[in-house]
Symmetry: C2
Subunit: 470 residues, 2 copies
């Protein structure tokens, strides 16, 4: 083998792996499917040298060792719904896809845990939990496509963070294959386990740069027995903050969502997307408040009287309370329509900002003006999980294709303002490669140096997803 | 300086540090106070070579660099209330104590955060939060003495984990001095921040072996507006598990504590500690259930009717509901009395086990029998935060002083059973040195190897708290 060139050696090693794992497990060059060439970000695809699709952790380890011998960089792939190219391959890389590692391994009612393979779609887990009489609270727009391993790798947020926390808080144990091929099985089911370092948090949120997650133990929760929702219209942002305070103290831990929409968002969805909103236009802000309780007969009247009290106190300009599950769903469509912004707005760039709750409107106002003044024809709309300090915005210049949208100029204006206001360039989407140049706007040199120390300790040869995040 | 011996060099370097930081900041040899020689475990004290007491992170960094130059191992110290010798010095070490780094730096109502110095006692933080109109939920018996930095280092649990999570879940940001003297300031206040690796979780729960935490940003919560408590008597453990299920689904997120006491615990506190319990003796189990709500007028009747329904269904043998805050406190005394077991039982060893909720009673029954059969005169009692999967037990042989208690034999029986039943040798107390030999009972070789990799990456010279945990 020493007489081989490096490409010959790669071909030889991938061929041997294919013989060990089966023909469906290794797809090379032209056989690589389009889906494995990109994520959901608005980027150009890259065809990897090969896609390896193992069915278990031993297969992932075999794939990793093969890549190491061939000196081929490798990237883990789940549902490929990421927005920052964390799971996107570079030319010449190998993709290790978990698409065949799908399924529920165990539901343990006594421990209230579900153990799943890392390639399992989020929605499959939600349904399995529901059928077993439990509730799995992680929920995001890509639920049908995203894989739980990717949810862990990006520490996904979504709609219920205010009540249940981010993905990190829902994980009890995991199995991971390290960059050297070691399988580390740490499928802890215990809520409290202080026996040595908590290793799972190293892999959650590190975007597949420190190991490849292969199995996960997740927490399950009791099913909510009542769901209440209201769409509220308010005069100004100080009323929004007052409503959040009132929701936190008045609804307490029942509060399960607090989604704020700025009026420009409202105008776009009513004028361009044809949504028929439950309250009228012309208000300063719109907030979707949701609470989950344990007893419909007590919780629903209580929610109603909590709202009436706020109305009497003059905090709300208008409010509609959902009278049925169908109405609750309709309220959520107002918020979820942003998943279809591609159709509604045409080509645009999406941002995911972490900010202090109290400064959100200041940011939105300044950002909108700076974009409009700095870039000819630039529009932007604002919305987000405000209860979690997470603002989303999309910006675009009407009529330009995605490759001609002035992304670099938008980035500079938006992330410059984030830095100035002490925010984060990523609240929930991650860094990948697309936000890498802006990481220093949110993290100090000492922090980034420590990230590099950890990466070098686990992956000294820089073969696992190199150049991502840091 | 090259002509100096190592002890001369240490003396010279510590003298220079004292001139820089002030005479109160460096205490050497005989001037080292007794408090810095031990933690709260039943161990013999070790006098360190010196105690350094900086007032800020720069002082901690200076202390660390001094220790490195002198090749002296150093250990961080907070309230020294740990039970596993994580903060206890070995002979010849330097203790870097945070006892002068005490105080609240900021309460930010808009972000619902409190920023504190790491040496601040937990109770000081609870009171400051309360005075500012918030609730800080971390609570444990040593609240008046333990320091928040130590709470982070051990990822402390305590009484409210079932509702608010462990210390880890309450931390948003921290400042830490790394083993090389780098000050890493990561005082994040954002609930969602996925900009790069989440570094704080590396330091939380690693027992001061990866860095010295100097400041902390903690989450604050709305004050509960109602507190309901009941002391329930039950026939058997299956009724306890059914009660836990009923509490989770019926009280939902209001459930704030679920503390179980086995009958031997009950007998000890009534017969020997003189506690007058709110329900009679002779039952199979005793459970303290607590719920925190947002509206006394709705929550209290609801809690009462939830209990009455369980009584009618035959799940409870007896129950007392607290009718006042004083009664709630009296109920908690029944559970908190274990902090005085030293006076009640005499010399004993305390254990802190993580276990699947469903197998707790099987463990307790087998463990009690194995201890009684294996060690002449060995008694044991069982209690714990069962809702979190955390069992405490104490065991002793009456009449023996602590140094003659058969700890090694007890350890072998108890931790052997923990391993067999897939539990953890530490749910909340940590490993330190006292449980180090048992770490392999709860964690795999691959996990321990990764812990060593992390330790070597951050502290290649093994000078920060060496030999602890791993």
């Amino acid at each position: 083998m020493d007489a081989m060139t490096l490409p010959e050696r790669s071909e030889h090693l991938l061929g041997a792996l294919q013989r060990r794992l089966g023909p469906q497990a290794v797809l090379v060059d032209a056989d690589v499917p389009a889906r494995n060439c990109n994520d959901w970000s608005a980027s150009l695809p890259n065809r990897p040298r090969a896609v390896i699709r193992p069915v278990d952790a031993a297969g992932v380890a075999d794939a990793i060792i093969t890549c190491r011998k061939a000196r081929l960089p490798f990237v883990p792939q789940g549902g490929l719904t990421g927005l920052c190219r964390g799971a996107a391959p570079e030319p010449g890389w190998v993709a290790i896809s978990l698409e065949r590692m799908v399924g529920i391994e165990e539901i343990d009612p006594a421990s209230a845990t579900i153990t799943v393979k890392a390639g399992t779609p989020l929605e499959t887990i939600q349904k399995a939990a529901d059928e077993a009489g439990f509730f799995f609270p992680l929920d995001l727009g890509s639920r049908g496509s995203c894989a739980i391993g990717g949810n862990l790798s990006t520490n996904a947020g979504g709609n219920r963070v205010i009540r249940y926390g981010m993905t990190r808080e829902l994980v009890l144990g995991l199995e991971v294959v390290l960059p050297d091929g070691t399988v580390m099985t740490s499928l802890n089911k215990l809520l409290k386990n202080n026996a040595g370092y908590d290793l799972k948090h190293l892999f959650i949120g590190s975007e597949g740069t420190l190991g490849i997650i292969t199995r996960v133990v997740l927490r399950l929760f009791p099913k909510p027995r009542s769901t209440m929702a209201a769409l509220c219209a308010l005069k100004d942002y100080s009323a929004v903050v007052a409503l959040l305070d009132a929701a936190r103290s008045g609804l307490g831990p029942l509060l399960s969502a607090f989604e704020v929409m700025w009026p420009d968002y409202w105008d776009v969805i009513t004028a361009r997307a044809g949504v028929r909103p439950p309250v009228g236009a012309g208000h300063g802000f719109y907030v979707l408040v949701e609470a989950q309780g344990t007893d419909e007969s007590i919780d629903a009247p209580r929610f109603q009287s909590w709202l009436e009290d706020l109305m009497e106190r003059g905090l709300l300009a208008d409010a509609a309370v959902a009278q049925s599950l169908a109405q609750t769903k309709a309220f959520w469509e107002v918020r979820d329509i942003c998943a279809e912004f591609g159709q509604v707005l045409g080509p645009h760039n999406a941002y995911d900002i972490g900010l202090a709750v109290g400064r959100m409107d200041e940011f939105a106002t300044r950002c909108k003006a700076d974009l409009a003044n700095g870039i000819a024809g630039c529009e932007s709309v604002y919305y987000g999980h405000i209860g979690d300090g997470n603002l989303h915005l999309v910006s675009w210049v009407t009529g330009l294709p995605i490759e001609r949208q002035p992304k670099a100029e938008m980035d500079a204006i938006i992330y410059g303002l984030v830095r100035e206001m002490g925010g984060s360039v990523s609240a929930e989407h991650g860094i990948g490669t697309l936000k890498k140049q802006w990481l220093g706007h949110a993290r100090s040199e000492a922090e980034i140096a420590l990230m590099r120390t950890l990466k070098a300790a686990l992956d000294p040869d820089q073969l696992l997803n190199p150049g991502k995040v840091i």
